[in-house]
């Protein structure tokens, strides 16, 4: 049986470093090529030596597909393509292609310029790598080669995020990347048609969470910000530069507009401006509201949100500041935090996940005294709020996607093992399909049951139609006679005559003969005539002929009579029929064995 093999190099029972190898129908595909935020050594990138020990990857991979521009999905791409070596096509959507290099460059700058690492990819490598990228459009079927085709679906999550449907022959896999089933302020919800793939590879970051309605969250967020501003406090919102930041900006921007608020909102600059530019351009990838109103006004052209300058932090009066990075571990957000932490009127809102060890994590866990570098301590008096604005599908969203796509098997990646286990149980129970959750380097093998297409000759079909009265009923199988020819990777069902002709074989006739003893006092011709009249009365609707050469033909069955030498009463009937008439022939022999009825004349 054909198989599909899925091996995660990263993101198997883990979050970060997404990299999944799929071999399907003889094709090898790499899905995402990400880096791990938590490591600074070799574990940062996926272990490409799994594919080949030495040499380039081009020979072993048919294509690479990147689902979206987050670094844990594309961070290792220049390393793989330029340093390990891969020259094949890399597929990503247009927005991803536009924004990805900005993030990679930023990532490179931080690691090389700030941390002073060597042996890292260079700007030129990023450029070279991006040259290998083939952009994808939504719902566009792209033929990678003759057999392999891929198609992108909208995934929500961030601008340009896509789910990919990969198809070879009748086998197919859907890879979701990160996706979001609830729409937010700037993006729509993920959607896929009923493509019934063999495997659905889904992320499971929030496998055990069912989120509250997003409106509650938004309302709480706005209310908190609003109250704080009215009190004259300052609000700090640490964000990652792209994705959630834009959503929160739009949320605040519209709120400010609606409520006629005057307090300034600042956004700490950096790569955001460049990225914002792309957000303005890729309007088609955003949600209904932005798409409908951009003619009057592009929502990403903010009226109330201005660029932040370091000196603004000391300005009196209320303000809202978005600052990077999101976990308060370094940079501008930390600086501002230090300045504002002492005043209880101020507030910090953490809109997402914080890794252990960061200040964000500490204050969220209620720590009120922080140790800073140089033995200094910082009293945290400002209010700390947590608002999950993460744009991943929750447990219910994952279930909804399964319902939409109706896969035959399920495979979970990009999540914690314990949570996956829980969701796996649910999926198996609810949909009664198999669910896999391989660890990194572990291979999940799924045998598929592909349907085998067979060509059938039109003449055969027509003949069958002519025989069988009513139209074929799709619900009921029907038997037909024909010859199956397997020739050069193709299957054909043809009529036997045609098969003989094609194969150059002679037709062989198979005839059965049978003797039947019969007690009949009449002469041979009379007996024959009696048989003729008997059959005529029994078999209505068949052509029965009494031929002058002393035989009776029923269809193609020949019946002859000869009397035995010793007893003129005992007649011997000779029946002969071909293989095709087996049914009728055996019926006749049993009928005649019973003897002729006496009432015949």
């Amino acid at each position: 049986m054909p198989e599909i093999n899925v091996t995660p190099l990263g993101a198997g029972q883990d979050v970060g470093r997404s990299c999944i190898l799929v071999s399907i129908g003889g094709k090898n595909i790499m899905l995402d090529c990400g880096m791990h935020m938590g490591y600074n050594d070799d574990r940062r990138f996926p272990d490409f030596s799994y594919i080949t020990q030495n040499g380039r990857l081009t020979d072993f991979l048919d294509c690479v597909i990147i689902s979206h521009f987050h670094l844990d999905h594309c961070g290792a791409l220049p390393y793989m393509s330029e340093m390990v070596g891969y020259d094949g096509p890399i597929y990503m959507t247009h927005p991803t292609k536009a924004i990805c290099p900005i993030l990679l460059e930023d990532f490179r700058k931080i690691t090389v310029d700030k941390k002073g690492e060597t042996n890292f990819f260079t700007s030129q490598m990023i450029k070279d790598c991006m040259k290998k990228v083939v952009p994808l459009n939504l719902h566009q079927t792209v033929q990678v080669d003759d057999e392999l085709e891929i198609k992108a679906y909208y995934a929500g999550h961030v601008l340009g995020a896509a789910m990919v449907h990969i198809k070879v022959g009748s086998e197919s896999v859907v890879y979701t990347g990160d996706y979001n089933m609830t729409p937010d302020r700037h993006l729509g919800a993920a959607w896929i048609d009923k493509c019934r793939p063999d495997i659905l590879i889904s992320e499971s970051t929030y496998a055990t969470t069912i989120r509250d309605s997003k409106r509650c969250r938004e309302r709480d967020f706005l209310k908190k910000v609003h109250e704080s501003i009215e009190r004259g406090g300052k609000v700090l919102i640490p964000v990652f530069a792209l994705g959630r930041a834009q959503e929160l900006c739009i949320l605040l921007e519209t709120f400010w507009e609606r409520m006629n608020l005057k307090a300034p909102i600042y956004f700490s600059t950096g790569l955001t401006e460049k990225a914002n530019h792309y957000y303005k351009l890729f309007i088609t990838w955003t949600n209904q509201k932005i798409r409908k109103t951009f003619v009057q006004r592009n929502m990403f052209e903010f009226k109330h949100i201005k660029a932040f300058d370091r000196s603004y932090a000391d300005n009196p009066g209320p303000m809202v500041v978005f600052a990077t990075p999101g976990m308060l571990h370094a940079g501008q957000s930390l600086q501002i935090f230090k300045k504002w932490a002492g005043n209880e009127k101020n507030m910090v809102i953490m809109p997402g996940y914080c890794v252990q060890g960061t200040i964000g994590h500490k204050i969220l866990n209620g720590q009120r005294k922080l140790e800073m570098e140089g033995r200094a301590t910082l009293d945290v008096k400002l209010q700390v709020e947590y608002m999950s604005f993460s744009a991943h599908a929750d447990a219910k969203g994952i279930m909804q996607l399964i319902r939409m796509a109706e896969p035959r098997n399920m495979l979970l990646v990009h999540g914690e093992a314990v949570k996956m286990e829980f969701l796996k149980g649910k999926i198996e129970q609810e949909f009664s399909i198999d669910c896999y959750m391989p660890a990194n380097g572990e291979t999940a093998t799924i045998t598929t049951n592909p349907s085998v297409p067979v060509d059938i000759s039109l003449s055969l079909l027509k003949r069958e139609m002519a025989l069988g009265g009513s139209l074929p009923d799709p619900k009921k199988p029907r038997t037909m006679h024909g010859t199956l020819i397997m020739k050069e990777n193709s299957l054909k069902l043809v009529s036997s005559e045609q098969a003989l002709k094609e194969l150059g074989l002679n037709e062989h006739q198979l005839r059965f003969t049978c003797r039947v003893q019969l007690q009949d006092p009449h002469s041979d011709p009379d007996t024959l005539h009696r048989i003729y009249t008997h059959l005529k009365s029994v078999l209505k609707g068949y052509t029965i002929q009494h031929l002058p050469d002393g035989t009776v033909m029923v269809e193609s069955i020949v019946i002859k009579v000869s009397s035995s030498a010793e007893d003129s009463n005992a007649k011997v009937l000779l029946l002969s029929w071909s293989y095709q008439d087996e049914d009728l022939g055996s019926f006749l022999s049993t009928l005649l064995k019973k003897g002729l009825p006496s009432g015949l004349c």
């Binding site: 609830t182 729409p183 302020r185 729509g188 919800a189 896929i192 009923k194 929030y206 055990t208 969470t209 069912i210 989120r211 509250d212 309605s213 997003k214 409106r215 509650c216 969250r217 938004e218 309302r219 709480d220 706005l222 209310k223 609003h226 519209t254 507009e257 609606r258 409520m259 006629n260 949600n287 209904q288 509201k289 953490m350 969220l364 866990n365 947590y386 608002m387 999950s388 993460s390 447990a395 219910k396 279930m399 909804q400 319902r403 939409m404 914690e416 314990v418 949570k419 829980f422 969701l423 149980g425 649910k426 999926i427 129970q429 609810e430 949909f431 009513s470 139209l471 799709p474 619900k475």
Partner: protein, 970 residues
């Protein structure tokens, strides 16, 4: 042969009917009949190729065909049809047959046979489908002919097994439209196999629910729905099949299936269906509700909208199913929920799933029994939570509306959905926000807002959109709150709102009025604080012009009406302010029974006593007055003017006292005034003097005639709820006025030419009156018109002078028309709220430039304000401008109520000192507007009255605005 004969009969029959009916145009028809079909025939014969023929047919199809020549054309087309080999031409012919059989006045049963015959020989599926479509048209043109129907159904059955989806779809359509509702009684009717036709249409259609083509499946569902619409009772067996189609791959099938399931749930709400994979049973309507709820998270948004809308109308669903629609976290399978209800609740409470609101609350805890919780929302779980969070605002709006309908039917559900609706106040699309506020208003009778809920509701008061704020004020008018803190909170927020948006003044006051009168006991403990009184010290008297202070007073005074202990808490100046406000804002401040103060019983007492009984008595009085007037036999009768005068006065007073009857009383009074004017005009002395002597003296009569005309237009267009009969009466008055004008003209201007044309015009008017009110003529006995109509043959033949004479006598002899009142008459009214006209500060602007004047007005009882309401600006120099407000400037806050918020641009040359301009609203009735009855009234004969713009009625009090255009500085 029989068919042929029948055809003959029909042909002749149709001729017999039409010859006497339209005599004049028959000539034209006879001319065109041969030419039309002949032209086509020639064209088709000339056509060398099929493309040519197609071209001819296309041009032919653009022209209309008269009913008489249809049959000929059909024959030619059919003849050509049989000859034609090209599919597209045959297709066009088939579609033409359908078009032609729709021609009004043509009965297509004569071509049924031919159309059916063509089916037999047709090979192309497309043409076949088109032919069936034609048959469908023919069939729906002949609803009264069961025989034809039976034959068509027969045809549909025969073609149902066709291999092309188009043909099958059309057949199903045909069955849906024409399928017999009950088995025909006489089997002998005609045709070979009624037995087949009698076969159950439903079972045949339902066979195609499983067709391989989605379009056919959709058509089958639609056909079934059509049968339902036509009144056939759909069998319950269909339910299972329809439910299966809910999970179809194609959205249009799913969408139709949702409708089908809904229909069945309405038909058999109480029957019991088993639940697969368990031995429990539930009501069908509950089951259907669960299934449709499921569709709210469908992949296609069209289906989601459909499902969300449908949910709203399933009112019979059991309450606990209903409540599940708001539950997202309770994942327990619906069906098991009844048995494991408690356990599921505990699970939910133990917090297995994180809500994402608190940090790290999704950290893995001890292993729970995972078998008890189902993640997927089977059944109704969380349908509305999904719908309200949907990506498309269409779905969200549909969900909000559905919530509204369900909540209105079930108070407990209303209570539960409150939080969700309040959440919607924060939607990104204003339409959705507005809708959810409206919905909350509609269900607010069921609910009492808690403090935290009120808090979120009030947060929206700061919205910059005026519509939202006003909707919210409206909502607050109807809300019940639970504690005095709520009242305080609401007042505080409203005052904040007032401060931020001073234009909301009226709306905020009104809101506080209702808030006060609804919660007197909650306001009571707040009074000292609100009025800032102190037990020992005198506090300073607040500023009476402060809108915020007025707002507080409005709240307190309204609460005091039903709380007699409250006035004891007032300080002296409060009483003074009461007296002032009672006078200046009487619509906001109710009369209070104040101790030791003399009540002015006047209008107030009437207000208090205005119960239903007083309405009845007023109605009676109105009727009596009218009866009294009807005793006046003819206009010459003595004492008639006095009686009319008296009655008019009575009616006017009645209208003031009884607001419910104001429209009717006003209408009657205006009508009677017309009569009175007519009476007076006729009784003038001038009629007795000979013609040459009266040149200058008929001024009053002319003015009266003009006034009657004007009033008659007011009668017609200013009042809504008029019936045909009243319209006839109004037109009758107008006719009288015109007659009067004609007579006067004849007497003053001896020129014959103008008289002739005027006479002709008048005669035309009479004719059109007759045409319009043919049905009303019996009611107009003994009236002016009736007499005129009797004399009409004579009038049209004789000389103008004689006509005038006849008119004069009939006018004088004709009796007073009795006025019958319809159920409800409302007078269109308009009140300009802004500008108030009180300001002494002139609006200064540089001459030659423009200044924008904000106008805010409420309009009542106006059908189509977008087209009919105009703003008129009158400058002191007599210049007047009419401004057409944009359609978007009109809002509709309630039934029969409109709000106009617009800006008017003013400009003028420099003035030396400020002066007042007048702004008022006009109701336009253009000649096209007056054709409410399809009659175009040419108005050119009438010179416009002074101050009135042609074709408009001023219907609001003018407001004066002080403006001052300054000369431009150099």
């Amino acid at each position: 042969m029989a068919a042929h004969l029948k055809k003959r009969v029909y042909e002749e029959f149709s001729k017999v009917v039409q010859v006497p009916h339209e005599e004049a145009p028959a000539k034209k028809l006879r001319l065109s009949k041969p030419s039309k079909s002949a032209a086509l025939h020639v064209d088709l014969c000339k056509a060398s190729s099929s493309t040519d023929a197609l071209q001819y047919l296309l041009t032919f199809s653009r022209k209309p065909v008269e009913a008489e020549s249809v049959e000929g054309v059909v024959r030619i087309l059919l003849e050509h049809y049989y000859k034609e080999t090209d599919n597209s031409v045959r297709l066009k012919i088939a579609s033409l047959l359908g078009l032609l059989s729709k021609t009004p006045g043509f009965t297509p049963d004569c071509i049924v046979d031919d159309a059916i015959n063509t089916l037999g020989s047709e090979k192309s599926h497309q043409v076949l489908a088109q032919l069936l479509d034609t048959l469908l048209v023919i069939g729906s043109q002949l609803p009264e002919s069961p025989a034809v129907r039976l034959r068509l159904i027969e045809v549909a059955y025969k073609n149902l097994s066709d291999s092309s989806f188009g043909v099958r779809t059309k057949c199903l359509q045909l069955l849906g439209c024409l399928g017999l509702l009950e088995a025909p009684l006489g089997k002998d009717s005609d045709g070979p196999g009624p037995s087949l036709a009698v076969r159950d249409v439903q079972s045949i259609i339902s066979d195609y629910f499983g067709d391989q083509d989605p379009r056919v499946r959709t058509a089958a569902l639609k056909a079934m729905l059509h049968l339902h619409e036509r009144g056939m009772k759909i069998h319950q067996i269909i339910y299972d099949q329809a439910c299966r189609l809910l999970s179809d791959d194609y959205e249009q099938v799913r969408s139709a299936a949702v409708q089908m399931v809904w229909v069945l749930s309405q038909l058999y709400p109480e029957s019991i269906v088993p639940i697969p994979s368990s031995n429990e049973e539930i009501r069908l309507v509950d089951d259907a509700f669960g299934k449709i709820s499921h569709m709210v998270s469908d992949g296609s948004w069209m289906v989601r909208v459909q499902a969300a809308k449908t949910l709203g109308s399933m009112l019979q669903v059991s309450p606990h199913f209903l409540e599940q629609t708001l539950d997202k976290k309770l994942m327990s399978d619906l069906r098991r929920k009844r048995t494991a209800h408690e356990r599921a609740k505990e699970l939910f409470a133990s917090g297995e799933f994180s809500s994402g609101r608190k940090w790290a609350d999704d950290a893995p805890k001890e292993k729970l029994d995972t078998n008890t919780v189902n993640l997927i929302a089977s059944g109704a779980c969380g349908a509305f939570v999904h719908g309200l969070e949907d990506e498309m605002f269409e779905v969200r709006i549909a969900a909000v509306e559905a919530l509204c309908q369900l909540a209105r039917a079930s108070p407990s559900f209303a209570e539960k959905c409150l939080d969700f609706l309040v959440d919607m106040f924060n939607d990104e699309i204003e339409e959705v926000r507005l809708q959810s506020i409206h919905v909350l208003r509609q269900i607010s009778t069921h609910i009492t807002l808690r403090e935290d809920q009120l808090d979120t509701v009030l947060a929206v008061l700061e919205d910059s959109s005026r519509d939202i704020r006003e909707a919210l004020h409206e909502l607050l008018c109807f809300t019940n709150v639970s504690t005095k803190e709520c009242i305080q909170l609401a007042l505080l927020e409203l005052l904040k709102n007032l401060n931020k948006y001073p234009t909301d003044r009226n709306s905020v006051w009104k809101c506080l009025k209702f808030l006060g009168s609804r919660h007197p006991t909650l306001v009571l403990p707040l009074v000292p604080e609100l009025l800032s009184t102190h037990p020992y010290f005198d506090t300073p008297e607040p500023d009476m012009d402060d809108p915020a202070y007025i707002a507080v007073l409005v709240l307190v005074f309204n609460a005091a009406t039903s709380c007699p202990t409250m006035p004891a808490l007032f300080s002296d100046h409060t009483f003074r302010h009461y007296a002032y406000l009672r006078d200046s804002l009487s619509h906001l401040v109710p009369p209070l029974r104040l101790p030791g103060r003399k009540q002015v019983y006047g209008l107030d007492s009437v207000d208090c006593g205005s119960g239903s009984s007083s309405v009845e008595s007023a109605q009676l009085f109105l009727q009596q007055s009218l009866n009294r007037v009807s005793t006046i036999q003819n206009l010459e009768a003595a004492g008639a003017p006095e009686l009319l005068d008296l009655t008019i006065r009575d009616l006017q007073r009645l209208g003031e006292l009884q607001t419910e009857l104001a429209g009717a009383a006003d209408f009657c009074a205006t009508f009677l005034r017309c009569q009175l004017l007519l009476l007076k005009a006729l009784q003038e002395k001038l009629w007795n003097i000979s013609v040459p002597l009266i040149l200058k003296q008929n001024v009053t009569a002319t003015a009266a005639a003009q006034q009657i005309l004007d009033e008659s237009y007011k009668l017609e267009f200013l009042y809504s709820g008029l019936e045909n009969r009243q319209l006839a009466t109004i037109h009758h008055v107008r006719l009288q006025a015109k007659a009067l004008q004609l007579i006067l003209r004849a007497r003053t201007r001896p020129g014959l030419d103008s008289l002739i044309s005027s006479c002709e015009k008048f005669l035309q008017d009479i004719e059109s009156f007759q045409r319009l009110f043919l049905t009303e003529l019996p009611h107009l006995q003994d009236s002016f018109v009736e007499k005129l109509l009797e004399l009409l043959p004579r009038l049209s033949s004789c000389k103008p002078v004689e006509v005038v004479k006849i008119l004069q006598t009939t006018l004088r002899q004709s009796g007073l028309l009795q006025l019958r009142l319809p159920e409800q008459i409302h007078r269109a009214t308009a009140t300009i709220i802004e500008p108030t006209g009180e300001s002494d500060n002139p609006l200064r602007f540089t001459s030659g430039l423009v200044v924008a004047l904000d106008i805010d007005a409420t309009l009542e009882h106006i059908q189509d304000p977008q087209n009919s309401v105009k703003v008129q600006v009158l400058y002191p120099d007599g210049q007047s401008h009419v401004i057409h407000p944009k359609p978007a400037d009109f809002r509709k806050p309630g039934p029969d109520r409109h709000r106009l918020i617009t800006q008017v641009y003013l400009s003028h040359t420099a003035w030396t000192e400020p002066s007042q301009i007048e702004v008022r609203l006009l109701l336009a009735y253009s000649s096209s507007c007056s054709s409410r009855l399809g009659w175009t009234d040419a108005m050119d004969g009438l010179p416009p009255a002074e101050g009135a713009v042609e074709g408009t009625i001023p219907f609001s009090k003018p407001v004066k605005v002080f403006i001052m255009p300054k000369p431009a500085r150099r």
